[in-house]
Every structure is written in C-alpha cells, then in structure tokens.
C-alpha cells in the first residue's frame, strides 16, 4: 500500500525524535551509546541531561512538602497573633464555612457522632452533616481536593514531636531529609555505571557560563541529583554571565532559595525577574513565597497583579481560590473556581471543589452532576465513586447510591481503603444497621489503625451498647492519634465527666474548645465543673 521507503532515524537525530515523543528511557539509551563513542559531544550530553531531568521532573509550584523543622522552627513568620482572616493560622472558621453549632446538631442526638472526612482528589465526602465541612487531620477546613498543605501549622513543635508517628501522618523532619532524597536518588540506582555527571569534579563556572548547556545542566542537578547547593551555584554563575538580565536564571535562583528555605532571597529574585519580564510562573512563585511566610493578603495581591497581565489565567485564579479556601472564605473561593471553569471547563480541581461546596451547601443533587462530569472526563477512582454514591444517597437517589458505593469498595486502593470503609460505616449507620456499621469501622481500622474518625465512631457505638470502658479506650486512642480532633476530645471528656474524672474532663474540654471556640456544650460542662473546683 505504502511504497514510500520507511525512513530510519539514527544517531543523534533518533535520540532527538525519541525525546520529542517523550520516550525518555529509549532516548537516554541512544544518547548513552553515542556518548560512549564520543564523550565530548556536547549536544548529546545536553540531551541526555534533559532526558534524565525530565524523567524526574516535578512541578515546583505544587511541591509544598515541608518538614517539621521548617514548619515549626520558622523564622520568617511575621505576626505571631495575626488578625483573623489575614493568616492561614487563623482562618475565619467561625465566621463562615465551618459552623460548629450546626456541625453538632446531629452530634448531640447520638452522643456526638464524628463526621469525617473528605480527603484526596475527588475525595470522600462524609455522609453526615450536610451543613458544614469537617476538618482534616491537621484541623484545616476540608477542601475538594487533597494538596500538600503541610506549610500550615497546627499545634506546636512540642505537640508534633510528642504525637505518635505513623507512615501516614508522619512528616519528615526537614525538607532536606531522607524522604526528600528519594525524589532525586530513586532513579539513580537504575543507572548501573553510577552518576552520569560527577558534580564534585565538574568545572561549574565553565559550564554554567555556557548558554548552550547550562539550562540542561541546571535542571539535571535540580531535579535529578537534587543537590540544591550545586544547583544554586550553577544558577548564580549563569545569572552573572548573563549580566543579571536573564529572567530565567532569576526564577531558577528563586526556586533554589525556596528549597533552601531562604524565602526573602527568593522574593527578591522573583521581584527583579518580574521587572524584566512578566511571566505566569513568576507571579505564581512570588505568591507561593508569600504563602510560605503566611502572608495570604500579599499573595492575593500578587495573583491580582498577575491577572492584570494575563486576564482569566487559570494558574492565577486557582492560586487565589486556594488561598481564599485556606482562609475559610468558601464563597469567594468557589466564585473563583467557577471563573476557572469558565476559562477551562475540564479543570478537575475546580470541578471537585465546586462539587464539594455544593454538597456541604445542602445541594447534593448538583454536586452529583459535577462529580459525574469528572467521571465523564475519564477519571475514575474509588474516591470518585464513593462521592457519587454519597451524593446519590443524600439526594435520595437510592437505586444508584449503594451500587456506586460498592463499586468504590471493589476498586479501592490501599491509601484510601480506610476512608472508604469509614464512609461505608457511615452509610450503614444511616441505613440503621448498627452491627454492620461497627464492622465497617473495624475493617477501616485494620486498613489504617490510626483512622481516628473510625475510632471515635466505633467508640460511640460501643458506648450505646453499654461498653463504657471500651468506648473510653477507643476515644483515648483517637485522641492520641489526632490530638486536634474535636469529636475525640469532646467525647472522651464527656465520658470522664460521667465517670467523675473532672480533672481529665476539664483538660479535654479545654482542648476541644481550642478547635471550636463556640461549642455551647463544652462551655456548659466546663461551667458546671467550675463550682466543684471552687468548693475545694
């Protein structure tokens, strides 16, 4: 049929084509062969560097992984007790979004039921409590998607160190520690002949000044080797040789500074880069540096400035929406996500966040439409099916509800298994089958022994059966795993109160009030304990 001779590429051209087609490992193999013949071939060398760095490329904008040390031993914090709404540490929890009073309307009837849990993209929404969002383990208002939010502080260093660590909740001590090393070194072991470029012996000044190869070399060091000091050195030298007028190198320097935790330096570089050339990436990074030092207002301003230059840009809008959400301004956030959807109708994060807001805003039938839209776009995951099931259930679409949930159960992966089973437990609770609910919670606990919501709810069911000691130990376990959990603290406090352990009760109630300062029942219990103390 086709008489044209098949053109076979070979040599460097072949490597280039393979690289273009994103067949990185094949391209790399060709490059390795070529380099074996001619080790001084700069073009091949640069291409191989590019192949290697692309294989481990991560979006630095989304890389928010921060260790304990950066979070708690942070010197960049400007105001320790900021006004509400101007700091991530003080979102307007009581003003909008999470309303603790409504949150526990159902709680009071059955002795404070815990409502979990929406985690992860797509994410599980809790079956209970249509009126307000639950919080995450770190005590943040829940979002529609899971993102690395570790830059948010919760509690103190002391508390963080004392809390028992598990694979799921533990955070690395610092971002330069073992966990982060993985990003870079995991793939290195594969190359049998060791490191491709010996950085210790490389003449950095020479290569960094060469505009033909310096970008590839930098990206290789930054993404693949993960050696920030050398990467910084290269970026610095390259910036110098470009006469400090290349915005690209200023951005790269800023990335290095961000990784090294030198936030003010990063800000300076980015601002000077913006003076030369206004780029979406630069605006986004600048806003990120402001977020790192807990200056959400400055970050919002930066995004606004970005929007002036790039109207309706998705990165800017998404960034703003995230900041607003973290501040507890859900209305503003959802309005922004809607703008994102106007510009880019298939933005999954935006769809998921809007859907979550509709769900907790008491309109599960509309949330369902949004989740179905995600499904139509070809995403399918256990979380998504779970959410569809929960929306169906809340919207009284009983014929689809349970089948979706079963689909979620049969496709679940290890990391969401506990959440899925917890939500199945919630569904069984709604159906009224308490033994099945209690079994589901137990299954959730085998998948993740630290699933505090399951512990609390199982405790409540035990308490109903009259097994007060068992309930007590379950609550205590939940509090030990997640000291910021309101339900655990409150329920354990209530048990202590009925058992006459007023001292423990007071301590727990006070901790519960830290999470939800307006909880009427906590206050009542505390005020009923007070005269007992005074009478001593």
């Amino acid at each position: 049929m086709n008489d044209d001779p098949v053109i076979e590429f070979s040599g460097f051209l072949k490597a280039c084509r393979l690289f273009r087609e994103n067949r990185l490992s094949e391209a790399e193999a060709v490059c390795t062969n070529l380099l074996r013949k001619n080790p001084l071939d700069q073009a091949t060398w640069a291409l191989k560097l590019q192949c290697l760095s692309d294989s481990t490329y991560i979006d630095e904008l989304e890389n928010e992984d921060m260790g304990l040390a950066e979070t708690f031993l942070d010197q960049n914090v400007i105001a320790k007790s900021a006004r509400p709404g101007t700091s991530f540490a003080r979102p307007k929890t009581t003003a909008k979004g999470v309303n603790p009073i409504l949150r526990f309307i159902i709680a009071i009837i059955i002795f404070s039921m815990s409502y979990g849990n929406v985690y992860r993209f797509g994410t599980l929404i809790s079956t209970y409590n249509m009126f307000s969002r639950p919080t995450t383990n770190a005590g943040r208002p829940l979002s529609g998607v899971v993102r690395p939010q570790s830059s948010f502080k919760s509690g103190s260093m002391d508390q963080a160190v004392r809390t028992a660590r598990t694979a799921k909740t533990a955070r690395a001590v610092s971002s330069t520690s073992a966990r982060n090393m993985r990003l870079g070194t995991a793939s290195m072991a594969a190359g049998a002949d060791g490191e491709f470029v010996n950085l210790a012996r490389l003449n950095i000044e020479k290569y960094a000044a060469d505009p033909q190869v310096n970008r590839q070399l930098f990206e290789y060091v930054f993404y693949y080797v993960n050696d920030m000091r050398v990467a910084h050195q290269i970026a610095g030298a390259a910036s110098k040789s470009a006469g400090f007028e290349d915005y690209y190198w200023k951005n790269q320097l800023a990335k290095c500074y961000l990784r090294l935790g030198m936030i003010p330096d990063a800000t300076k570089q980015l601002q000077s880069s913006l003076e030369q050339r206004k780029l979406i990436e630069t605006f986004a990074f600048l806003a990120k540096t402001y977020n790192r030092v807990d200056q959400p207002m400055a970050a919002l301003k930066t995004y606004m400035a970005g929007l002036d230059v790039f109207p309706e840009d998705v990165t800017m809008l998404t960034g703003m929406a995230r900041v607003q959400e973290a501040l507890g301004e859900f209305d503003v956030s959802v309005a922004l996500y809607n703008r994102v959807l106007d510009a880019q109708a298939n933005n999954i994060e935006a769809i998921a966040c809007v859907a979550t807001t509709y769900y907790y805003g008491g309109k599960p039938e509309i949330a369902l439409r949004y989740y179905r839209r995600i499904l139509q776009m070809g995403c399918s995951s256990a979380e998504l099916f779970m959410n569809i099931g929960l929306c169906c259930l809340a919207a009284q679409q009983f014929d689809f509800a349970l089948s979706s949930i079963m689909r979620a159960q049969s496709t679940l992966t290890d990391d969401v298994a506990a959440d899925i089973w917890f939500n199945i437990g919630q569904v069984m609770l709604e159906v009224g089958d308490l033994p099945a609910a209690s079994r589901s919670y137990r299954i959730a606990l085998t998948h993740d022994p630290d699933h505090s919501e399951s512990l609390v709810n199982l405790g409540i069911l035990r308490y109903r059966d009259g097994n007060i000691d068992e309930a007590r130990s379950l609550y205590a376990a939940a509090v030990a795993k997640n000291p910021l959990m309101f339900e655990g603290n409150y329920n354990l406090g209530l048990v202590c109160f009925t058992q006459g352990k007023y001292h423990d009760c007071r301590r727990l109630m006070e901790r519960a009030l830290e999470v939800f300062p307006d909880h009427e029942h906590c206050k009542k219990i505390l005020s009923s304990i007070k005269p007992l103390y005074e009478s001593i």
Partner: protein, 548 residues
C-alpha cells in the same frame, strides 16, 4: 430628600425642609421660645460657625429665617428665658500668675518669658488651677500668643468657662425664670433672670456638663447634675452635702428628665431609666450608639417619652415600652422637640450636612407598645433551608414514576453491601489481623504508638483486656533487613481487666539511606492457641538520617 421611610404609618408629618439654610451647632445651642410680644414660639439657634468665624445667633419663624445677629464669642449653650448680661464671679488669681501677666504682657511684649514663667507656675500649682487665659496661652502657637496678649493682656481675670445652663421657675405664682449655670470650676450658680443677682451657689466635686432642673426655686427643687466623670448629683433645696446618686461604670453621654424619671445614656449603648433617688427602673440595650436624648411630651394625651437619636433614625421610649421608630435617609445631627409657632408638638430635625427640617406630631397618632428589645418568636424564625433546585424536582418526578424499581434496586444493593461487609469481616476474623480483637471469647484491645524520627524509634504497645489472662507473649515480626528490634519477644505474664498495660521496645532502622519503610506486626500469642489472640500492623514512618 429626608423623608421618613414609611410615610403612611408614621405618627409624624413628613419633614419639611427649611430652604437655603445650613446649621452647624451642638444640640445644646438650640432652643424654642417666644421672642416678641405676640407669644409665637420661635426657633433660636446659636450657630457655632467655623473656628470663631461666622458665629451667629439665628432666629427662625415658620419656615424662614426671622433675624440674625453676630455673636462675640463661641456659644456653649443657649437658654430661652423671659428677660435679657451676667459675668460669672471671678475666683482669686494666683499672685505669681497675675504678676507674670502684668510684667510681660505690657509693651515691650515678651512672649517667651511669659511662656516660661507660666510654665513654671503651671508646674507648681497644676494646669487646671491656672486662669483660662493662661491655659489657652500655654497651648497656643507663637502668632496666636501675640494676638492673645494684644487682646487680653491688660485685663486678666479668672472667669471660669460656662459649661452648661438650664432654667427653672421661681415659683408657680411668679412666672419668672431662675437660671442655673455650671462652670469649669465645679460651681453651680443660681441667678435671678431679672436682676442677674446671685441667689445661691453650690460647690461640687467635679465639673458639671449637663443640668436638669425639676420643681420651683421658692418651694422645692432638685437639680440633677451630670458631671464629666460620669456621676449624677442631685442638688436639693437647703442641702449642703452633695453626694452622687448615680455612679455609672461607662461614660454618660446624655441625660434628660421624663416626668419623675432620670433618663441617661451611656457609651455602651444603654439607655437607663432611674428614679430621683438613683434607683434603676429599666434599661434598654440598643444596637447602635445613642447620639443624644430629647424629652418628648404631649400633654393632650398625657404622653411623655424620650426621643433617642441614632445615626439614621429616632426611637421613642418610655420607661416600659418602645413607642415609635422614625427612619431618615441622612445621618442626623440633633433633634429638638417643643412648641414652635403655634404647634405644641413639633420636632426640629437637623442633619449632619446642615439641613434642617420641621415635623409635627399627628394628633391622631396612637402608639402601640412594643418591647424594648423585640425578638420575633422562635417559631417565626426562618431556617436557612436550601432552595429546591430544578434537578431535585426532576428527581422527585422520577421517584414517583419508578418508585417500585428504585426500591427493588436499593434492596438488592443493600443486601449485597451487607454481604460484602460480612465477607470482609469474616476474612479479618480468620486471619486475626484486626487491631481490635475479633474473638468474642477473649476481648482484647491493642494499640501501638511509634515515637521518634529515626533511625531509632520507640514502640509502645498498649494492651487492655476484659478478663484476666496469664502467660502470653508479645511477638514482633518484621523484615530483618530493614529493622532491628531490641526485644522481639516480650513475656506478658498477666493482664487484669480494666487496666492498660504498656510494653516498650526500641527499633533501629538499619539503613535509612535506602529510604524504605515496611510493616511491623505485633502479635499477642499464647502457647496453647494456634492463632494469635490479637494482631496489630504498624506501617513504619520513613526514617531520618542519623545525627553525626
């Protein structure tokens, strides 16, 4: 313009604006009363002007200006009485101060020396004991100082500033007014308005800022004095020792009399009704700041109340109820109620922008009595129920049509789901991998905490049993390449019910640089049982590098 929002229901006529007049003055500089022989009541306003310029006394009749005359000095308050100057008696001036003025204020003028000298005196005898002239001098700029010397230098006197004024009848028979004046020197002077002779003098312990008089001078009277430090004194005839009857915790902003009740407002948005003895009768908690109070009375219907002025509305209160609310479109400055022209219940309203309007109380008005702090009954409160969406209604339609099928599908799925749960649970029970014990015979609770960042971890196992158990072992199973456990097998000799037992062991991660983690299983086993009593599976956190 400044119309009340609900004209139809209002108990007042719509306000009529006096054209082309702008008034800026405090509420104390307004009074109503007849000036001429025809006994027609007029509105008299001491217009404050701007920084001593354009100070005018304006008289209005009907809807237009009647007359206008210039004032020599800044007005403090105005009072209408039947006759026409009086100077407050001087106090003794500090001799040094007198000397300073006589020495330095004569030509050649030496303002700096005078300033320094006065400053010296001020340090010795305190600022408040100086004459008002010296006080002004000390706080003025150079140019103003020269002007002061030029104008007043020769005739220094310690005349106290008048802070407030009120009047009362001499007796029921004689329609003569007695003026009562409060000064900065904490004095109250009772003056005869005909001859301006001093009839009586009272010394208080703090500076009066507002006065209310009740009764007549010859028979019996009470003067209520609100002072700057939020005290209210009651000054009675033939009484020497004056003690405050009301001590307010927060600043008193305004005080009026309503029949035999003292009404005052405080800066914490409360209106308080108190008896003449100072006993609280009632309080109103307001949402906003009360700007001022004005007494209201309508003798034909024996109505008396107070008008509380808020930012854009006025409310009428008596000691029991809220009677009326009138709203305006512009922010208010002050109101004055009384006889104007021949209408005996007229309300003069002045807005912040200087416009002034007249309203008349309707003779047919009926007050309905409302509670002060009206809250709608709880069943009338609307719950924030989300609106029904179109999709929701479509779904309801579907439910109606396919009710049977939906029910069948639901029942089938529910059965399947319960089966799935039971199946999974059964698997757990067989393998005993649950951290919560699954045997009903030996109920047992296990939980494990990992502490530390690595490579050294500490593992604590908590055991809680329901019955007494003997001779068991805690066994740890792990990947020997990754972790080394200090005590892989721990004897558990006894567990008694209700007590938590803790067992601790150290775990060392052998090679943190591999950046791997794995599970550790903790089993509670008994020699005579084939399966473990309870199992806990812990996924270890990633280990940090050792500290060198």
């Amino acid at each position: 313009m400044a119309k009340p929002l609900e004209v139809t229901q209002s108990k007042w006529t719509a306000p009529v604006v006096l054209q082309d007049h702008e008034i800026h003055c405090p509420s104390t500089c307004v009074t109503l009363g007849p000036l001429l022989a025809d006994n027609e009541s007029m509105l008299i306003i001491a217009h404050g002007g701007h920084r001593g310029v354009n100070m005018k006394l304006k008289v209005f009749q009907g809807l237009s200006q009647h007359s206008e005359s210039s004032l020599a000095d800044m007005p403090t308050a105005i009072m209408h009485f039947v006759n026409e100057l009086f100077t407050v008696p001087s106090s003794v001036i500090n001799s040094d101060e007198q000397e300073a003025w006589s020495k330095f204020a004569v030509v050649p003028v030496n303002p700096d020396k005078l300033f320094n000298k006065l400053k010296d005196i001020c340090d010795r005898v305190s600022f408040s004991n100086l004459t008002p002239m010296s006080q002004t001098y000390l706080m003025s700029e150079r140019e103003e100082q020269l002007a002061l010397i030029d104008k007043f230098g020769a005739k220094i006197a310690n005349t106290a500033s008048i802070t407030c004024i009120t009047k009362m009848m001499k007796s029921m028979a004689e329609s003569l007014d007695i003026l009562i004046i409060g000064t900065e020197h904490c004095n109250l002077y009772f003056l005869d308005s005909q001859a301006f002779t001093l009839l009586h003098e009272v010394k208080l312990s703090s500076v009066p800022v507002s006065l209310c008089a009740y009764g007549s001078f010859d028979v019996d009277y009470r003067v209520f004095v609100q002072t700057r430090d939020s005290l209210i004194f009651s000054v009675k005839r033939d009484e020497e020792n004056h003690q405050p009857i009301i001590v307010s915790q927060s600043m008193i902003t305004s005080m009026v009399l309503m029949n035999k009740i003292i009404v005052y407002t405080t800066s914490d948005n409360l209106i308080t009704f108190a008896s003449f003895r100072g006993k609280k009768i009632n309080t109103v908690k307001c949402k906003d700041k009360v700007k001022m109070l004005e007494p209201f009375s309508y003798t034909q219907k024996q109505l008396s109340a107070v008008i509380a002025v808020f930012e854009k509305e006025i409310r009428l209160y008596n000691d029991q109820y809220m009677l009326d609310v009138v709203q305006y479109e512009k922010p208010l400055a002050w109101v004055k109620f009384g006889l104007y022209g021949r209408e005996d219940a007229t309300l003069i309203v002045c807005f912040k922008d200087g416009t002034i309007a007249v309203q008349i109380f309707r003779r047919t008005a009926q007050f309905e009595k409302q509670d002060y702090n009206y809250v709608p009954p709880s069943h009338a409160l609307k719950l924030a129920i989300p609106k029904k969406t179109k999709i929701f209604i479509d779904q309801t339609q579907r439910e109606l049509e396919y009710g049977n099928k939906i029910h069948q599908a639901y029942q089938k799925n529910l059965f399947n789901l319960k089966f799935k749960i039971a199946e999974n649970y059964q698997q757990l029970a067989q393998t005993a991998t649950a951290s919560v014990s699954t045997t009903t015979v030996l109920p047992m609770d296990i939980s494990v905490d990992i502490h530390g960042f690595g490579p050294n971890f500490r593992m604590t196992v908590h055991l809680l049993s329901k019955q007494t158990l003997y001779d068991m072992f805690l066994s740890m199973i792990n990947d020997p390449d990754l972790y080394e456990i200090d005590k892989p097998l721990m004897p558990v000799s006894i567990l008694t019910p209700g007590n938590t037992y803790d067992f601790t062991t150290m775990i060392v991660c052998k090679d943190p640089e591999k950046a791997q983690n794995s599970e550790i299983r903790v089993l509670l086993v008994h020699q005579k049982r084939a399966t473990p009593i309870v199992t806990a599976v812990i996924k270890m956190p990633f280990s940090e590098f050792p500290l060198e």
